[in-house]
C-alpha cells in the first residue's frame, strides 16, 4: 500500500486550499484541514466566518472556486454522486415536509439509503434517536421547533452514514434538548462514523469534538484538539482560545 492509498484509508475529509467566492465576496480564502475516520471535527467561529459555506462545499451543494475537497477519496467536484452516498447533511435552518407525518418523513428519507426490511429497521432507529415515539405519526406541521430539529437530527443519523455533516446541530433547541442531541452525536461517533460539525457555541464544540478548527473571515486561524488549543493559548475554554487567536491572527 503506497502513501496515497494509506492516506485515503485513514482520511475521511481532505480539504486543500479551498477558496469559495460569491461574486466579488470571498467567503473562504484558501482553507485546508483533514478529518480522520471516526473523528468528530468541529469548525468554530462567529456568524459569517465561513463555516456554513465550508460544510455546504463538502456536502456537494456549492461549487469550489479553487482548491480541492475529497470525501473518502472522492473529489466533490468530480464525483459528487459518490460523495453523496457517503454523507448525511443536516443544514442549520433545515425543515421537514410539513404535510407528512414524522414517520412518513423518516420513511421517505430511508428509501434513499436502503430497501425492504432494512427500511423499517432504519425508521425504528430514527424514531428511537428522535425520542418522538408518541408523536411520530402526527404531521410535522404540528411539531414544535425542538421536535422538528430532533426529527431532523434523527434523519441525519439513522442511516449511520460514514460521514455526518452537522451545521449547528442544536440550533433552536433548549438546554435539555441540546444536551440530548449532543449525547446522540457522541454515541453515533462511538460506532465509528465521522462527524464534521459547525457551531458558534464554542462550549458545545469543546464538549463534542476530538479536534477543532478556528475559522474567522474565511480563514482557518488555528486547529488542534481542545486540550492542545487551550494549552497553546493558556486559555480556560475555547471561547478564550478564539479571542486570543483572533488577537494574534
Amino acid at each position: 500500500m503506497n502513501e496515497i492509498e494509506k492516506g485515503i484509508r485513514m482520511t475521511a475529509i481532505e480539504v486543500e486550499n479551498l477558496v469559495k467566492n460569491y461574486g466579488s465576496i470571498e467567503a473562504l480564502r484558501g482553507i485546508s484541514f483533514a478529518v480522520g475516520e471516526g473523528e468528530i471535527f468541529g469548525l468554530i467561529g462567529p456568524n459569517g466566518a465561513g463555516k456554513t459555506t465550508a460544510l455546504r462545499v463538502v456536502s456537494t451543494l456549492l461549487e469550489i472556486t479553487s482548491g480541492t475537497v475529497k470525501v473518502f477519496g472522492f473529489d466533490v467536484k468530480e464525483d459528487p454522486e459518490e460523495v453523496r452516498k457517503k454523507i448525511s447533511y443536516l443544514p442549520e435552518e433545515a425543515g421537514a415536509y410539513k404535510n407528512l407525518s414524522g414517520k412518513e418523513y423518516l420513511n421517505f428519507m430511508a428509501q434513499f439509503y436502503t430497501e425492504g426490511r432494512n427500511v423499517r429497521e432504519m425508521i425504528e432507529t430514527g424514531i428511537l434517536i428522535s425520542g418522538l415515539e408518541d408523536r411520530i405519526s402526527d404531521k410535522v406541521n404540528t411539531y414544535s421547533k425542538g421536535m422538528t430539529r430532533k426529527l431532523l437530527v434523527a434523519r441525519a443519523l439513522m442511516m449511520e452514514p460514514p460521514l455526518a455533516i452537522l451545521d449547528e446541530p442544536t440550533s433552536g433547541l433548549d438546554v435539555i434538548n441540546s444536551q440530548e442531541v449532543r449525547k446522540i452525536i457522541k454515541g453515533f461517533a462511538r460506532k465509528g462514523s465521522t462527524v464534521l460539525l459547525s457551531s458558534h457555541n464554542m462550549l458545545e464544540v469543546e464538549f463534542l469534538s476530538d479536534r477543532v478548527a478556528l475559522i474567522g473571515e474565511g480563514q482557518i486561524l488555528d486547529s488542534g484538539s481542545p486540550a492542545e488549543l487551550k494549552e497553546r493559548y493558556t486559555a480556560q475554554n475555547l471561547e478564550e482560545v478564539f479571542m486570543e487567536a483572533v488577537a494574534h491572527g
Binding site: 456536502s59 456537494t60 443544514p91 433545515a94 415536509y97 439509503y113 404531521k139
Partner: protein, 429 residues
C-alpha cells in the same frame, strides 16, 4: 421502489395534503362552478316559467279583443285583468298584485290597425332589481308581442291581399347560405359551421390554458415550498441523481395538476351547461364534411398538448429556482407564463392564416399557441402544420428541460435569487 418513484409519491402526497391546493384547486372548482351554474339555471328557469301579465284595454274593440285572446291562448302567459283606467293607478294595482309586467292597449288601437296607421301598445316593466329574471321576463313579453304582431300582420294581409302569401309580404327577401369546406359544398350557412368548429376549437385553448397555468403554478409551488420550508438543501445531498429529483418533482406535480385541471374542467362544464338549452338537431355533422378529428389527429394533438405541459413544467421549475418563497414563485410564474399562454386565445376567434403576418409569426414563436393551432389543423387534416408545431415545441421543451437540468446540477439551484422590491440579500457565509 425506485428513487424516482419515491420522490414522485412524496411530491404527490405533499401537494395533495396541502389544504390550499386541495380546497383552492380541486374542491372549489368542483363545488363552486356547479353551484354557480345551478343558481343561474334556477334564475333562468324561474324567468322562463309562466309570466303573469297585466292588461288594461282602453280600446275594447275588435283587434284589442283579438290581441287579448291571442295572449290568453299563449300557454306561457297568465293574464291578469287590471281595472285601473290610467297608468298611475295601474302601477299601484300591478304592484299590489305583484305583477312584473303589464301592458296598456290605448284607445284607437283597432282603428289604427284597420287604417294601417301603426298601432301602439304601451309596456310597463316593474323592475325591483337588475337580476336575470327581470331582464328575461321583459324580453319574453317583447317576444310574445312580436309573435302576436306577426299574426295580426298576416291577418291584415290576408284580409286586404287575398291569395298572397303573407310571409312573402313581411319578408320579401330570404337568404340561403352555402359553405365550401375543403372544396365540398355544404348546404348550411358558414355561421353554423363556424359555430360547430368553434365548440371544438374553443375547448382546446381554454382547457390548455387552464392546464398550463395549473401545471406551472403547481410546479412553482412545489419547488418554492422546498426552499421556503428549507427542505431543498437536504434533498440535494441525498444519494439520488439531481435529474431524478427534477423528474420526480415534475412527475408528481404533473399528476396533481392533471387532477386539478380535470376538477376544474368538470366544474366548468357543469357551469357552462347551465347556459345550454335545447337547440334541436344539427343539420350536419362534422364527419360528413371532413372536419372531424381522426385517431391520428387525436394522437398528434395529444403529443402537442403533452409537449406544451412539459415545457410549462420545466419553465416553472426554472423560474421557481430564482425565488425564495411560494408567493414570489407564483407571482413570477404568472407574470412569465401568462403572456406566453394568453395570446393563443386569439385563435379561438381567428384562424392563424387569417391573422396579420406579424401577429401570425408572434403566435408561431410562442410555444403554447401550438396545441391550439394543432386543434383546428387536425380538424382540417393539415398534419404538416401540426408536425411542424410539435417539432418546434419539442426543441423548445428540450432547451428548457436542459436548462432546468443544468440548474439542478449546479449550485445555482441554491444560490440563484431574484428579490421582489427588496435589496439583494448578502450571501450567507
Amino acid at each position: 421502489m425506485g428513487k424516482l418513484t419515491t420522490i414522485l409519491i412524496k411530491e404527490m402526497k405533499d401537494l395533495l395534503r396541502d389544504p390550499k391546493i386541495v380546497i383552492g384547486m380541486i374542491v372549489v372548482p368542483l363545488v363552486m362552478f356547479p353551484a354557480m351554474g345551478a343558481m343561474f339555471r334556477t334564475g333562468i328557469e324561474s324567468a322562463e316559467g309562466e309570466i303573469q301579465l297585466g292588461v288594461i284595454d282602453l280600446d275594447n274593440q275588435e283587434f284589442s279583443k283579438a290581441f287579448i285572446t291571442a295572449l290568453q291562448n299563449n300557454p306561457s302567459v297568465k293574464l291578469a285583468d287590471l281595472e285601473s283606467q290610467d297608468t298611475e293607478d295601474a302601477i299601484r294595482e300591478a304592484e299590489s298584485a305583484e305583477l312584473k309586467v303589464f301592458i296598456v292597449i290605448p284607445e284607437g288601437f283597432t282603428s289604427d290597425i284597420e287604417d294601417v296607421a301603426g298601432a301602439e301598445i304601451e309596456g310597463y316593466a316593474l323592475v325591483k332589481g337588475l337580476g336575470m329574471s327581470e331582464v328575461i321576463s321583459t324580453a319574453r313579453v317583447d317576444e310574445i308581442i312580436q309573435r302576436i304582431n306577426r299574426q295580426l300582420s298576416e291577418a291584415v294581409i290576408e284580409d286586404q291581399m287575398p291569395g298572397v302569401d303573407p310571409g312573402n309580404v313581411i319578408n320579401p327577401i330570404t337568404s340561403r347560405g352555402y359553405t365550401i369546406v375543403q372544396g365540398k359544398k355544404v348546404n348550411v350557412p358558414p355561421a353554423l359551421i363556424a359555430g360547430l368548429i368553434s365548440s371544438q376549437s374553443f375547448i382546446v385553448p381554454v382547457v390548455l390554458m387552464v392546464m398550463i397555468l395549473f401545471v406551472a403554478q403547481m410546479a412553482a409551488t412545489s419547488m418554492a415550498t422546498e426552499k421556503e420550508n428549507k427542505t431543498l438543501e437536504t434533498l440535494l445531498t441525498l444519494p439520488v441523481s439531481r435529474l431524478s429529483i427534477l423528474a420526480g418533482k415534475m412527475g408528481g406535480t404533473a399528476v396533481v395538476s392533471l387532477i386539478a385541471a380535470v376538477a376544474y374542467i368538470i366544474g366548468f362544464s357543469y357551469y357552462m351547461s347551465a347556459f345550454q338549452f335545447d337547440s334541436g338537431e344539427l343539420p350536419i355533422n362534422l364527419e360528413e364534411i371532413g372536419l372531424s378529428i381522426t385517431p391520428v389527429g387525436f394522437i398528434l394533438l395529444g403529443i402537442s398538448i403533452f409537449m406544451a405541459v412539459l415545457a410549462a413544467l420545466s419553465l416553472a421549475m426554472i423560474l421557481a429556482v430564482f425565488t425564495q418563497d411560494v408567493r414570489s414563485a407564483q407571482s413570477l410564474v404568472s407574470f412569465t407564463i401568462m403572456p406566453l399562454v394568453f395570446p393563443a386565445m386569439i385563435l379561438v376567434f381567428a384562424d392563424i392564416n387569417s391573422l396579420p403576418t406579424a401577429l401570425k409569426y408572434v403566435l408561431l414563436v410562442l410555444p403554447f399557441s401550438h396545441p391550439t393551432i394543432a386543434a383546428s389543423a387536425v380538424a382540417l387534416k393539415d398534419y404538416g402544420l401540426v408536425l411542424g408545431g410539435i417539432a418546434y415545441l419539442a426543441v423548445f421543451t428540450l432547451v428548457v428541460l436542459y436548462i432546468a437540468a443544468r440548474m439542478f446540477s449546479t449550485e445555482r439551484v441554491i444560490t440563484a435569487k431574484i428579490t421582489f422590491g427588496r435589496k439583494k440579500a448578502k450571501p450567507e457565509r
